[in-house]
Subunit: 462 residues, 2 copies
């Protein structure tokens, strides 16, 4: 069954006014699927705004909240505007606080006001606290719904506590043990407690060597910890090492996916997108792309200047012009190979800034090997394909040697630039992904041309 | 504390022969960290092979197995060669079966033989079964250590079962309910069981609408289900819907990370790497990169031919040559912007093949907007910067108009090609990521030049 089938069935039941069957059917679906069906049906014009509300009201309380949390901001806004105050507070009560905060961050001020009016004062305080963390921090990623236990509790008491307070917690499987001032002392898993005797005191069985993050840690680094250590939750502490929240693995996965997408977009010279491709308007996509295109177009002025500077030399050796695109694209490819590997290594934490010299040395060796192979292949290709095969008499052995030698040097220069610039960007506090193909290409393009014309001057005596 | 600090401390304790303190210290570390320290110490020449074995033998049984599972293949092989048969079977006994299979897949035949000799016959049968699944399938990703319950059990009986059989299971938190022929009937979480009365029968509380995957499903699609539905485990069934294994979230994260890295590498014209950058040899990196560089270099023959074809026209209007790099790089950037967004959308499941027309229509509208902006900016830049500012008398209004108009058409063509080719590749069963920047650029380069010279012929009467 695809989402398309889900949508079709929902629409059919809705149009036939079979609300009871529709309700039963909706209950069998996953919140993420229901949310997507609603979005698709609205997008295709099959569902009107009033039907959307009717559909949403058929969902049982908990599923309604989960579905709401999975929706796009514009769909959420539409629903909130249609909700009664009672409906709104019901949904908010069922949602996890980190999801509520995510909703609030996307809403216009009037809607935020209405949301804050419809939650109790404790929740409002927590929301305001969470809104104050920087956007890319662990604090903005964490949830405050976790199970905290005391070191003096027995396993039996811990289970009683979980039964009483665990219903609304985002995960119950890792429980944290805190001292009198809420300082984080240790952690214990439900698995260990199930296997232990009910009278064991938590203090005697808890793991005290636990990795925690602070509210201000970068969320990508936090997410990388999940990938490295196979956790399902990580505790978040404040500066005084007091437990203030937890990050769960589902949110970590979302961060890893978003960061990878963002890196790919930056590497292709685009500003990061906020919504899936098909749900982003033409104008928004244009805004992501056009500034970079303009900057890169203008910065290509240098390559033009270099060519203009050698115009007379080129006129006397017109065959050289034909190899300009090939040399530039090979340089660009060499550079982006290196930069992409270094960028990815940096973002996975496999490469540190302190590895700069090792990276350079490796890139240098690889670039010499690539350069040799390119030089030999390029020399032969120019001489035999462009020269002999196509019968171009202008292509002599010195011309082929010029192209081959340029390829060797271009490979070395491009790979060193491609390896170095992302690390430089990171050192200066920028996102290394910005230093991928397009910028590298612009720099390498200019360097390739300079190398080409210098070598041509030497070998051909231009 | 960084890994560097861990390594320093381990080395110091080892050199001072403080084995008891070293043992205590190792116990406080996470298996992933211990494995990395061992790798680093060996790489730096601080640790000899015999010390490696000594170090490994200090680890408690379970941590030893977990650490072993986290190591690179070459380190694993080194250790296996040093192990006694008894040590080897102890490590194998403690490891999860999916990890054992991962080890086997990387080992030479003689080591595989020794491993298979040192496991019991049931395990050997399971290993052989798992080795038979295709490399990129859910079957090769799953573990067979899961908790299976019967529908007639009560919650109390289920917990007793978990206490008896759950110790070695990869996760106990989602338990699967199977019928007499091992057909998957439903699932129940430990959370729900903790909150239910001990006498509740599982049949009455189990979730029967569960999403399962089959052994042959693609592992990237399986991993995407985790991202979409926030699961921590997913059941894997065979063709007869019998439960044969589960995939856990930690393995799904690894798949998502690996697939993103692979896409980025393909996008930058490299074959996917198998090890982290710094742990890959110069020669292996060269092998990843050089075939693509050679193919792309040779395919640039077309651009050379186009230029050669227009050589006489260019000679009479030498100013046109200077804009070739800029037009080609703008075309390349336009195309890779589109292709990267489409490739990422396809791999996240946000774009389906059936969306091809919607993608093309969106890219067309974006490309027209980008084309207009580029044309206006390009026209002005050529006229005022290259012409007036640098005092180049060859640059006339018709020349600037030629460049501007070419930019507009290049944007449209590049974005349509960039949007379409990845979808075409997917349709034909190739990885769409291959159709990113380098190939798109090669195609767009040739098209840009043809457009440029055609428009120049029209406007300048070449």
């Amino acid at each position: 069954m695809t989402n398309f089938d889900f949508s079709e069935k929902i629409l059919a039941l809705l149009q036939e006014k079979q609300y009871q069957n529709l309700q039963k059917y909706l209950e069998t679906l996953n919140p993420a699927d229901v949310a997507e069906c609603m979005t698709d049906l609205l997008d295709d014009g099959d569902l009107e705004d009033k039907d959307l509300l009717r559909l949403f009201r058929l969902l049982p309380k908990e599923q309604a909240a989960d579905t709401f949390a999975e929706m796009d901001a514009d769909l959420q806004e539409k629903l909130i505007l249609g909700f009664t105050d009672k409906e709104l507070s019901q949904v908010l009560e069922e949602m996890f606080l980190d999801d509520t905060v995510d909703v609030i961050e996307e809403m216009p001020a009037s809607v935020v006001k209405r949301i804050l009016k419809n939650v109790d004062s404790d929740t409002r305080k927590s929301i305001n606290q969470m809104l104050s963390y920087p956007e890319e921090s662990a604090g903005s990623l964490m949830t405050i719904e976790f199970v905290d236990l005391r070191p003096g509790m027995t396993v039996r008491e811990a289970f009683d506590h979980i039964r009483q307070h665990g219903v609304d917690k985002e995960t119950i499987y890792t429980c944290y043990i805190i001292g009198p001032t809420r300082k984080l002392l240790g952690a214990v898993s439900v698995r260990e407690m199930l296997l232990a005797s009910p009278d064991t005191v938590l203090r005697d069985m808890m793991e005290t060597n636990i990795i925690s993050v602070t509210t201000l840690d970068d969320r990508e680094e936090v997410a990388n910890l999940f990938a490295r250590y196979d956790y399902t939750a990580l505790p978040v502490v404040d500066k005084e090492h007091r437990l203030v929240g937890i990050v769960t693995v589902d949110d970590a996965i979302d961060v890893l996916q978003e960061e990878a997408t963002e890196d790919m977009e930056l590497m292709a010279a685009m500003s990061p997108s906020e919504h899936p491709y098909l749900r982003t308007s033409t104008f928004d996509i244009w805004k992501q792309r056009i500034p970079w295109l303009l900057i890169l177009m203008v910065s290509a002025t240098f390559t033009g200047m270099i060519i203009t500077g050698f115009e007379t030399a080129l006129a006397s050796n017109a065959a050289l012009i034909a190899f300009i695109p090939m040399l530039m694209s090979t340089g660009g490819n060499c550079g982006s190979q290196s930069s992409v590997m270094v960028i990815r290594g940096l973002s996975l934490g496999e490469i540190e800034l302190s590895d700069a010299l090792r990276v350079l040395w490796k890139e240098f060796r690889v670039s010499v090997l690539c350069g040799l192979a390119l030089a030999v292949a390029g020399f032969a290709k120019v001489l035999f394909i462009d020269g002999a095969l196509f019968g171009n008499a202008e292509i002599t052995i010195p011309v082929a040697a010029t192209v081959g030698l340029t390829l060797a040097f271009v490979s070395i220069v491009a790979k060193l630039v491609g390896g170095l610039l992302p690390m430089g960007a990171k050192k200066l506090g920028f996102d290394p992904a910005v230093m991928a193909s397009p910028f590298i290409t612009t720099i390498v393009d200019a360097l390739s041309l300079l190398l080409y014309f210098s070598i041509a001057s030497l070998l051909l005596g231009l």
